[in-house]
């Protein structure tokens, strides 16, 4: 694969050369996986994965399962939206899971309630002046922590020319250390009611899909998106055509950091607790979603829509395995195969497209 000319959004973007969009392949894979689970379900448990086979809902679908399929991937999915942009610039962000952990601890400390069941909050981190704060405070703290971590990543990558893998690996270790140091490993629990609303019910999904739509538009119809693809396709050419590459990279990493911070807020709100081990290996789950969704680790190729479908594939597999009552080990084996398979298929198609063009 040559690294310049097959991009769907690179500098050499040419509509006539555009193949059958990659997102359709990913969608086809999603549908295929659903069909496999439907068949296995009919044979082994006598139930349907997605359809309402025992008349519990007013619709033809098993709505509870449709909801959980997407709830369980929404939070990592939000991280994946940022990671997708980073990978499109030919970078990588290994720090998002740890940044989530650190942000979770810090933000939650500003969201605590003063009294639990009539007794003072046993997990309070700060004194009374910092309890029962308005919900905007922890949210802003959370976004702020994420943005700061992202800016540091961006500066390391863009100005000191440390490879993104190393820069974000450093941040990954550092942020996990912060998460554990913050309360010496103790969990931070019992948030205010207003804070608990953020991650309740379907809210994580609504936030995920709204952000996906936003970034889909941003990546496809704004200068920001065009510059992101341009840098990933050919950084030297991007610089030569007048893009301020370092500044743009800092912005991309800052957005990825902000999304990790936001997912920390949503996750702690959903779980009503923050723990220093939170977000462990989420960065890899997020990268997996992006890669399954067709984002190329060489940069310049990929889409938000693909990543969202990639997230849904992981959600369907997780729910599907529980539905079949199979253990978690099989789930990880299958996920591993799917990730490698997705990239192999993608490479093969690229090669074929290149040969035809």
């Amino acid at each position: 694969m040559s690294d310049t000319s097959q991009g769907t959004g690179g500098l050499t973007f040419d509509k006539s050369k555009r193949q059958w969009p990659n997102e359709l392949n990913v969608l086809a894979a999603l549908i295929l996986i659903v069909i496999i689970f439907e068949i296995l379900g009919a044979v082994f448990v006598g139930q349907s994965l997605l359809f309402d086979t025992n008349d519990r809902f007013d619709s033809i679908f098993n709505e509870a399962r449709l909801r959980i399929i997407i709830i369980q991937v929404a939070i990592v999915g939000i991280i994946a939206l940022g990671v997708t942009q980073v990978i499109i610039t030919a970078g990588i962000d290994l720090s998002s899971g740890s940044v989530l952990g650190a942000t979770a601890m810090i933000a939650m400390s500003f969201a605590q309630v003063a009294e639990v069941n009539g007794a003072p909050n046993p997990k309070a981190i700060f004194g009374p002046a910092f309890l029962d704060l308005p919900v905007i405070v922890p949210v802003m703290v959370g976004l702020g922590c994420g943005i700061i971590a992202g800016i540091i990543n961006g500066i390391l990558v863009a100005y000191s020319r440390i490879p993104p893998f190393i820069a974000t690996l450093g941040m990954m270790l550092f942020a996990r250390g912060v998460a554990q140091w913050w309360s010496s490993g103790n969990p931070v629990s019992f948030p205010t009611e207003a804070y608990a609303v953020i991650g309740a019910g379907m809210n994580p999904v609504i936030i995920f899909l709204a952000l996906a739509l936003l970034f889909h538009l941003v990546m496809n119809y704004t200068l920001y998106g065009k510059h992101t693809f341009a840098i990933g396709s050919n950084e030297a050419a991007a610089r030569m055509s007048g893009i301020n590459v370092p500044r743009h990279l800092v912005l991309v990493y800052a957005i990825a950091g902000m999304l990790a911070g936001l997912s920390a807020v949503i996750l702690t709100s959903k779980n009503l607790t923050a723990q220093s081990g939170m977000g462990l290996s989420y960065e890899l789950d997020a990268i997996a979603m992006a890669v399954i969704g067709g984002v190329s680790l060489f940069g310049g190729r990929g889409s938000i829509v693909g990543t969202v479908i990639g997230a849904l594939i992981i959600g369907v597999i997780t729910s599907g395995f529980t539905f079949l009552r199979l253990g978690a080990f099989y789930q990880e084996m299958v996920l591993g195969c799917i990730i490698v398979g997705a990239v192999a298929l993608d490479q093969w198609q690229q090669k074929r497209a290149a040969a035809r063009a």
Binding site: R56, N62, N271, T322
Partner: protein, 312 residues
């Protein structure tokens, strides 16, 4: 002359070292809630004792790293070592290293695989793991009977990491209890691992609920997973009066949940007591006293009736 000064300095250093008992501690992970309680129990006990100084290190759930830490402790001449094993199957090498260096070794909280062949100068401090799952499961069985469900009840079980002895033991205890004549009206619908995590348990429980199977009880290998299951059930509009939920650990989050009438059973493992007990055992071993190979700190059942004893 230079050599003499150096030697004198070193001797002085070593002799001050001899005043305080140096104990090296390797904890499986710093970010585990239960182990943090244990670690804090150690620190509090250290502050109370005169002339004991702890050096606590995080093995970050890495077996190889833990063995390196132990060898480093031995090399730096500590008086005793306390290990909270990452993987209980890997303790043979640790016992051998400490025994050949003549340094007392205390395993805390997690039972070493070589328990039967533990060398002299080594001991194990913990609660008897068989108690915890059995206490919780039996009480859940009684609660289900009291609710008039002795004609048949259905349960889900959330398990910890399957490589962990506590997870395996607690799961087995639960299945043993529901195999007893008195409790065999309970059938297990499904058991899956949620890796001790509240978040994973919440998603797993929601997945189970989505299959529409009716159920009467949920047992979590720890409180965090039981709380995750409770949050999922509440979100699905299931009344917490209809479901018996049990966990293990009696964390403060779990006690609050019990006060709110959600969690029905948990088991208090005196982790701070285990931490303090491991230091006492290590000191006894340093002083050459006779120490039992296994020092057990008892578990206690926590229910809405006696929750008052466990509130801060």
């Amino acid at each position: 002359m230079k050599k003499f000064v150096l030697a004198a300095g070193l001797t002085a250093l070593m002799s001050t070292g001899a005043f305080a008992q140096q104990i090296g501690v390797s904890v499986a992970r710093f970010d585990d809630n239960g182990l943090t309680v244990m670690r804090n129990g150690m620190a509090a006990h250290e502050a109370k004792l005169d002339g004991v100084s702890l050096q606590v290190e995080d093995a970050t759930d890495d077996v190889a790293k833990q063995l390196d830490q132990i060898n480093n402790f031995i090399a730096s001449g500590v008086d005793a070592i306390i290990v909270n094993a990452v993987d209980t199957n890997a303790t043979e090498a640790m016992s051998a290293a400490a025994a050949s260096a003549g340094v007392p070794l205390v395993y805390v909280n997690r039972q070493p695989i070589n328990m039967a062949t533990l060398p002299d100068g080594q001991a194990f401090v913990a609660s008897n793991e068989i108690e915890s799952g059995t206490l919780a499961a039996f009480r859940m069985c009684q609660d289900l009977r009291a609710q008039g469900k002795s004609g048949g009840a259905r349960a889900y079980m959330l398990m910890g990491q399957l490589s962990n002895q506590a997870a395996v033991q607690r799961s087995k205890d639960f299945e043993d209890v529901i195999g007893m004549d008195m409790c065999n009206f309970i059938t297990l619908i499904d058991k899956q691992t949620a890796e001790w995590s509240r978040d994973k348990a919440q998603d797993l429980m929601t997945n189970w609920i989505s299959s529409g199977e009716p159920f009467d009880a949920v047992f979590g290998n720890n409180d965090e997973m039981a709380i995750g299951a409770i949050q999922a059930m509440k979100a699905a509009g299931i009344s917490m009066d209809d479901v018996v939920v049990g966990g293990v650990d009696a964390t403060s989050d779990a006690l609050v949940s019990m006060q709110a009438g959600e969690m029905d059973v948990t088991v208090f493992q005196d982790l701070a007591g285990q931490g303090a007990g491991s230091i006492d055992t290590a000191i006894a071993l340093i002083n050459g006293e006779d120490v039992d190979k296994a020092v057990f700190i008892p578990f206690k059942l926590v229910t809405p009736e006696n929750i008052g004893e466990f509130l801060p």
